[in-house]
């Protein structure tokens, strides 16, 4: 048998292997990106608002009469409503829609044309079940059938098929949280980070220094795995050097909220600037299931919107320099919207149509996209819910195609024929 090792050679190789000094030629060859390789296309950040955000109070259709008829206590006052305090009124965007007052920090991004909104956007699923809707949306499928992997996982996998091995950074795809988000599931390994603390060896300072010394010694070879190890040590140092405790971004308008979400966004910005090969990050903001005491311009949901608005605004300003602003796309989504008619407990029940926000240097911004189906009785679907006029996959497919250099949208969203909606340049 030509080109095969004899048993004796196997043992000789095994001895070498144990020594980790040099690698036999037959060791699997791995492909490597250059150190701290830059991602291909934009860096994508996906913000998922878990619990079904009430999109009608996020971007308020203040020009739709039916909104105020169905939201007598929860409705956000019109921008020109003199009866309401100025800081509690909607912030007008285009004469028909307006931001919730707590999204005011996003106005600079809106005016700069870096923020697009797609209203009445969502999934065809009408189960109104959080679990099911989130699962299907993160898998990017119509119903229970179809692949169990996630849409971002398939995006990375198809990208790898077209350009094998271009980005092997251990921080290529990260999910902020205890476990990777379902959307990241697939054939490319992803790292779940509760914070960038997770890219750290742990232990006290003395133990850390000793382990660092042991790894440096043991990974000093020039075999493929030792090179991965050296790169991992480099990235660890780069992450450490970020000095996250002392990191104060040069932003003046809005600061990152001191919450898990705000710090997560801040750390994503730090990783982007450190150029550690970050290509996709998924981050969640939960608490949107506001059946009870949702509040209007103030209250429970208003607090979440402040966290969202401040976080996104700080991130936008933090990454506004020419080097980064041009290479980022941030998508915000939620599993479905909420009932148009407010319920008897000052909250809203599960609905259907939702909205998406796309932020970045290449969006067709300063515009509310999508066809508005209206909120009058004959215009609603199911038990009185906003209709969906733009499938969420149209938005994501356009992001993949135009900003992430991935044209395999038929594999990312199998069985779905996406329509280009002109959201991105």
């Amino acid at each position: 048998m030509p080109n095969l090792l004899t048993r004796r050679k196997f043992f000789e190789s095994a001895a070498v292997l144990a020594g980790a000094v040099a690698w036999p030629n037959w060791m699997p060859r791995l492909a490597f990106a250059p150190k701290h390789s830059a991602p291909r296309g934009d860096t994508l950040i996906v913000v998922f608002l878990r619990g079904a955000a009430d999109c009608l109070n996020v971007v308020v259709p203040h020009g739709d009469e039916a909104y105020y008829a169905k939201r007598p206590t929860l409705g956000i006052p019109r921008p020109d409503d003199n009866k309401a305090k100025a800081n509690l009124r909607a912030v007008d965007l285009d004469g028909f829609f307006g931001f919730h007052p707590n999204l005011k920090p996003l106005v600079p991004a809106w005016q700069a044309g870096h923020l697009a909104i797609v209203h009445a956007c969502g999934a065809p699923d009408e189960s109104r079940s959080h679990f099911r809707a989130m699962e299907l949306m993160e898998r990017g499928v119509d119903d229970e059938r179809g692949p169990a992997s996630g849409w971002i996982g398939r995006h990375l996998a198809t990208l790898d098929m077209a350009h094998p091995g271009q980005n092997q950074s251990p921080l290529r795809a990260i999910g902020l949280g205890q476990l990777p988000q379902r959307s990241l599931g697939g054939s490319v390994p992803v790292s779940a980070l509760r914070s960038i603390a997770d890219f750290h060896l742990g232990g006290d300072l003395k133990a850390l220094a000793q382990m660092r010394a042991a790894l440096t010694s043991l990974y000093s070879g020039n075999d493929p795995l030792s090179i991965v190890g050296q790169e991992t040590l480099d990235i660890m140092d780069a992450v450490q050097a970020l000095d996250p405790l002392g990191y104060t971004p040069k932003i003046t308008n809005t600061q990152y909220p001191i919450t898990e979400f705000g710090l997560g966004l801040k750390q994503i910005a730090m990783l982007i600037k450190a150029e550690v090969g970050l290509e996709v990050a998924a981050i969640d903001l939960g608490g949107w299931d506001t059946h009870f005491a949702q509040g209007g311009s103030e209250g429970l949901m208003a607090g979440l919107l402040k966290e969202l608005g401040d976080g996104l605004a700080a991130f936008h300003e933090d990454t506004a320099d020419a080097k980064h602003a041009d290479r980022l796309t941030i998508v915000t989504m939620s599993e479905f919207g909420r009932r148009v008619q407010e319920n008897g407990s000052l909250g809203t029940d599960h609905g259907h149509g939702s909205l998406m926000m796309v932020m970045g240097g290449h969006v067709v911004g300063n515009k509310v996209h999508g066809q508005w189906p209206g909120l009058a009785d004959g215009q609603l679907v199911g038990p009185g819910d906003l209709a969906v006029t733009t499938d969420y996959r149209d938005v994501l497919a356009e992001v993949c195609f135009k900003r992430l250099n991935n044209s395999a949208v038929d594999q990312i969203f199998p069985g779905y024929k996406a329509t280009v909606r002109g959201l991105l340049k």
Binding site: G19, V21, P28, A209, A214, G246
Partner: protein, 492 residues
């Protein structure tokens, strides 16, 4: 500026998750008694270490001693008769997992919280923990390696539909009883397994709306392989044969059911064979044909050879194993004899997948562990939480998808050696009784890597640690962690 992990956590405003497991500590005395089969590194041979690394979840002293005593092939034959191997060590540890023996509807009830959403995690995590406990503590190691192999081959993700409780039944009733039996029986059981039918959408495969998913994957991934001689038309025709293969709901929830009302009663033609209308037996006939097909023999033999020999195994061995598959009517042990007795001589290094990395470090360091949430958390971050691979091709068995993610392995190695993993304990003082740093490195490397490091490498490591200020007390954990994190330990 150097930051400790605590600083980072404070920064993020997060507290490390605590996963106390009262059951594990209550069992501690039993564990201690069961752990006595351990042999100290001074007494163990390096004979058979590379082979045993393929055939176990990490060779322990007792296996290394047994191979030195009776030879590798005789040890493999012993392992081929798992029922004759006493397994009290795993048996007692498994007793606390109450869902393992339950019917599907009983497991469902465990997760049913009446007013709230279903809590799927207890049942799923019991299966995951039990799987790890068997891999760690069962003496029927080769059998457990094969259970893992078939769990990949017939992959089912617990995240799909009702698989969160059906997979426990599939594991117990379809995979485990046949892991060393006949391939035909395994395929037959898998085809009738409710978890598989749900996972690959056959419960919605009905005459009026055929769903091709299972029909395609049983040919592409379970038997013939891509290019194994089937066409899109065969997929569509087999899907019609499988219409009506579904899973009971409500009463007898989760049992297999053939529903003639949604079955397509027309004539079909699959792989050139005309199939007369006959209900359930139509697809069963095709299952028999697929099990005996020469493409199946080659496909299964290739995957087994990839698991045990090399990512790209030698063609000659694959062909011989495939021929044996056909001659013996798919006898798994007979095929394995070819691959192991003839093929191991051509073995090339395999990159340890995360499960093997974790189990081998725990086994070789003689850890006592509950395989609880902290271990599962590490596996998730390394990318191989058991039964969580979403796509039906199973966790990848090649190096490339795994080799980029070293950080969680290093973290695990360090936490393990420093006894910082909740529910897991190692006693390094018992493992290495050395009077010098060099002796310590020798002892731990013969335990973890199967032999001593080359002298120059050993001295370089000892010097590096000394320069980093390691005292005699610091050495055992940092050497154990370093060797577990080392490039050599990532391969087997």
């Amino acid at each position: 500026m150097t930051l400790s992990r605590r600083d980072f956590l404070r920064l993020a405003g997060l507290v490390a998750a605590s996963a106390a497991n009262a059951a594990a500590s209550a069992c501690a005395p039993v564990y201690n008694k069961l752990g006595s089969d351990f042999q100290s590194p001074a007494n163990i041979s390096s004979v058979g270490f590379p082979e045993l690394s393929r055939l176990t979840f990490g060779p322990r002293g007792e296996e290394r001693a047994r191979v030195a005593e009776i030879g590798l092939n005789a040890w493999i034959e012993e392992q081929f008769a798992p029922d004759s191997i006493d397994d009290a060590s795993a048996f007692w540890r498994l007793r606390r997992f109450r869902t393992l023996g339950m019917d599907a509807n009983e497991i469902y009830e465990v997760g049913n919280k009446l007013f709230d959403d279903l809590d799927k995690t207890p049942a799923v995590n019991e299966l995951r923990q039990a799987t790890l406990i068997r891999q760690l503590y069962s003496r029927r190691q080769l059998y457990e390696v094969m259970v893992e192999f078939w769990s990949d081959h017939f992959n089912i993700s617990v995240d799909k539909g009702n698989c969160w409780f059906l997979k426990t039944v599939d594991d117990r009733d379809a995979i485990r009883p046949r892991a060393l039996g006949k391939f035909r029986d395994l395929l037959w059981a898998s085809a009738h397994s409710p978890a598989m039918l749900v996972y690959l959408d056959n419960q919605v495969n009905v005459a009026s709306h055929p769903n091709e998913n299972y029909a395609r994957e049983i040919m592409e991934l379970h038997t013939l392989g891509v290019g194994g001689g089937y066409t899109q038309r065969d997929v569509m025709e087999l899907a019609r044969c499988f219409t009506g293969w579904t899973v009971k709901e409500h009463w007898w929830l989760g049992d297999f059911r053939f529903d003639p009302d949604i079955h397509d009663n027309g004539m079909k033609e699959v792989l050139g064979l005309t199939i007369q209308p006959g209900g359930q037996i139509e697809a069963e006939g095709v299952v028999e044909v697929l099990a005996a097909h020469p493409s199946t023999a080659r496909f299964v033999a290739t995957k087994l050879a990839r698991r045990f020999i090399a990512d790209d195994p030698p063609k000659e061995i694959v062909e011989k194993a495939a021929a044996t598959f056909t001659e013996t009517d798919g006898d798994i042990k007979a095929v394995l004899r070819v691959i192991l007795f003839d093929g191991l001589a051509y073995a090339q290094a395999k990159f340890k997948r995360p499960v093997n990395f974790i189990t081998s470090s725990l086994r070789m360091l003689n850890a006592q562990t509950d395989a609880g949430n902290t271990i599962l958390d590490y596996l998730a971050r390394m990318g191989q939480l058991p039964f969580a691979w979403p796509t039906p091709d199973g966790y990848p068995d090649r190096a490339a998808p795994w080799s980029g993610n070293l950080m969680p392995r290093w973290q695990f190695a360090m936490a393990l050696a420093r006894n910082e993993i909740e529910g897991t304990h190692v006693n390094l003082a018992e493992l290495a009784k050395a009077d010098s740093p060099s002796r310590l490195i020798d002892q731990l490397s013969s335990l973890l890597l199967g032999g001593a490091l080359p002298e120059s490498k050993r001295d370089e490591l000892a010097t590096a640690l000394q320069e980093a200020g390691a005292t005699d007390d610091d050495l055992p954990p940092v050497v154990a962690a370093g060797l577990t994190a080392s490039p050599a330990f990532q391969w087997r």
